[in-house]
């Protein structure tokens, strides 16, 4: 036992030639630069882009993707993926609507249940993936259908409209502004900050990177892989639950078909943000930038009256471009 003691304290002079350490800054520098260049270009064409109203609008548009992307960053860093997030948002959403409208619950417990439903969906995903040893892609491809089906079944396919009529406080999550800042933006920042802190300062964060970087070596280091993977999918679910609250409040309704395809936006934000789909490398700041970049592109094209169909083409191209640039950078490194 004493074997380590002396070796550990002996001689502390080993500062060799300083090579630049590849820090998190450089990983996000690319997307960040793209964001500024793009913003500048749009501003040249449409000066209204940089107005406070428009910028807040962009931030609000980015919020759903950014919240889901925060959870998705954890999942992708472990080398997994979660295709069921859109369906999780829907199920969490209609659960709240059902409880408030059909069952007459008051808002606060209903909102708590919405977040909880998200968390339980994530737990279910995590259990299927770890205990069932099903690859995340397959597992969440299945639960994507299951959660969506459950949402449709619970509401017989019908939305619940006009929630603020019975629950006037429900607008605090999505439409109100505080000190001029829209609620979705504040929620996004809170979720982002929590995600950032977990990833940087906790064991869960350390192991998230380690599992994605080399699951085998991590297991051989005595880490309980399943436990931390489970944690990651629960985090993803909780983020989806929060997103459901925010989004339902903004729409003032809950719909079983809401957020269809949102999982792809979340994955795109993570990838544009420089996180490797193989896991182990990436940052949550990058994801936030990725979500903003997508919103800026959509906003800019809208300002320039480009059709929404083109927007989709451009976003798709940006995803491919982002990964391509990332690969070229790595090769040069």
């Amino acid at each position: 036992m004493s074997g380590s003691a002396r070796i550990a304290t002996e001689g502390a002079a080993a500062r060799q030639a300083r090579l630049p350490a590849i820090g998190s800054f450089w990983q996000t520098a690319g997307p960040l630069a793209s964001l500024f260049v793009l913003g500048f270009a749009i501003w040249l064409v449409e000066p209204v882009f940089l107005s406070q109203t428009n910028l807040l609008n962009v931030a609000r548009q980015a919020s759903l993707t950014a919240i889901l992307g925060t959870g998705m960053t954890f999942v992708i860093l472990t080398g997994g993926v979660d295709l069921s997030v859109g369906s999780m948002v829907a199920l969490a959403s209609v659960s709240g609507g059902y409880l408030m409208i059909q069952q007459g619950w008051s808002m606060w417990p209903a909102v708590a249940v919405m977040v909880l439903v998200g968390g339980l969906c994530g737990l279910f995903n995590g259990l299927v993936i770890t205990l069932g040893r099903i690859p995340p892609f397959i597992a969440t491809l299945g639960t994507m259908q299951i959660f969506r089906g459950a949402a449709l079944q619970l509401t017989a396919g019908k939305p619940f409209f006009d929630i603020t009529k019975t629950h006037p406080q429900f607008d605090i999550w999505g439409t109100r502004e505080y000190a001029g800042i829209p609620a979705p933006v504040i929620i996004t920042l809170v979720v982002f900050t929590i995600g950032f802190l977990i990833l940087r300062y906790t064991r869960l964060g350390l192991y998230t990177y380690a599992i994605g970087g080399n699951e085998q070596a991590t297991r051989f280091s005595g880490v309980n892989i399943n436990r931390y993977k489970l944690g990651v999918y629960v985090l993803m679910g909780l983020a989806a639950g929060v997103a459901a609250v925010m989004w339902s409040s903004r729409l003032n309704s809950t719909q079983p078909t809401v957020a269809t395809g949102e999982e792809l936006n979340a994955i795109a934000a993570v990838v544009i943000g420089g996180t490797s789909l193989f896991g182990g490398e990436g940052t949550i700041v990058g994801t936030l930038i990725g979500a903003l970049l997508m919103a800026v592109i959509r906003n800019g094209l809208t300002l320039m009256h480009v059709s929404a169909f083109y927007q989709q083409i451009v976003i798709g191209a940006v995803v491919i471009l982002a990964v391509l640039i990332d690969r070229l950078q790595r090769r040069n490194a």
């Binding site: 036992m1 074997g3 550990a8 502390a12 940087r200 350390l206 380690a210 182990g280």
Partner: protein, 526 residues
Amino acid sequence: MERADTDAAMPAPRPSDSSSPSDAQPVLELRGICKRFPGVVALDHVGFDLRLGEVHVLVGENGAGKSTLVKILSGIYQPDEGEILLDGQPVTLRTPHEAQRLGISTVHQELNLVPHLDIGRNIFLGREPTRGPGGLVDYPTLYRLAEEQLRALGIAIDPRRRVRTLGVALQQMVEIAKALVADARVLILDEPTAAITAEEAEQLFRIVDQLRARGTAIILISHHLEDATRAGDRVTVLRDGKWVATMPMAETSPREMIRLMVGRELTQQFPKEETKPGEVALRVEGLTRRGVLHDVTFEVRRGELLGIAGLVGAGRSELARAIFGIDPIDAGTITIHGKPARITSPREAIRHGLALLPEDRKQQGLVLPLSVADNIVLAAPNRIGTKVGAPPAARQSVARRFIGALRIRTPSARQPVRLLSGGNQQKVVLAKWLLTEADIFFFDEPTRGIDVGAKVEVYRLMNELLERGAAIVMISSELPEVLGMSDRILVMRGGRIVAELDGRTATQEEIMAHAAAADESMEAIA
């Protein structure tokens, strides 16, 4: 015409050429082949020739350069220097496909079949017989030809059977059939007997005899000397990447081959220090993992370095994995510091003070994209924070202690570990285990891929551990290292411990004789 070494760099004297088995043309000739990897010269001006209808055996210790040579001949690696002549014409083998097209087929140790496809489709993969203008695969012909080919090899088996249902020996036959369908004139068999039984090996050699009679030239790589004497016409010995000798099999003996394989000077420094072993730290009794380990019993004391020698596939790494809780065991007990321990996962092994520095550092020891600091704290997060916390500043300050103490050369604790050299990576793995306060260390090939200077540093760190009362089990294929560092040496073969030797008196020949266990050579040494 026997001389393969037209190159002046050939170092060793060669036995005189007499009575060669045939005067046939060399079909394949290697001249002055060199291959360097970072920190290692894998092949240093190696040359030999291969004649039609000859079985040429390549022997040598682990790391002698046999595998590298095979990879060059099968188009996987490119030589840095030297020439390959096929029928007297220089050729370059840029890809495995090109090698095959030129008639050089290799049956690798790790078989390359598609397990879900059947035998026939595997044999004809990429050259399926077709018919009609659309180029549709002519399956009836394919299966008929496959069956003929197999029957010619003396195997009666339905070519519609899926490959994954076959044992290793039959899969090898399928690979050979596949090579023959590809019109192989040169067939390379890389360690074909490593994973099959003696009877299966005999069947394989009957096929080899048959192919030789048909004029196929065969290179057989093996470190089992019985294989060499049973099947070979000539034998070439490699050692430390250098050509040592090429001899007709009839003129040599297993004893001479062993001498040529290991007969090197101890050029490296082994800073072995005398320690007085203390009480028993780890005792393993009757450890069995079906088909892998059989009734393995040994103990290692505090302050003692126990070396484990043996050929690749003898079960050495598997032993370490089983004790460390990676692979389940079928029987046996483990006692640590006098108390029985039930270890079913690496977590429990670590809790009992065990540490494993695996053979494959990059796949099993390190998380390459993570920083030096994060790798060091990976196994002992309780040393750097609360139950959930692990702040980066704490990780780095802990790591900096080890970077200093182990003299890990890295610009900072935040450097991704993949950018470090092999020796420094190994030190990071060691630092990880020092942080868990392990006191029983398994070093599996501790200096593989590490340059000479860093090797000595690793040995010194081992000495320091021993001095502090740690117990070390060192698995190594480098005999000088085993002899230079071990207090006691266990030799493993076929999942069993076959010999225990004293580290001070054992010789390389003795270890090799036990590890390769050619009966004749055993007698020769006794």
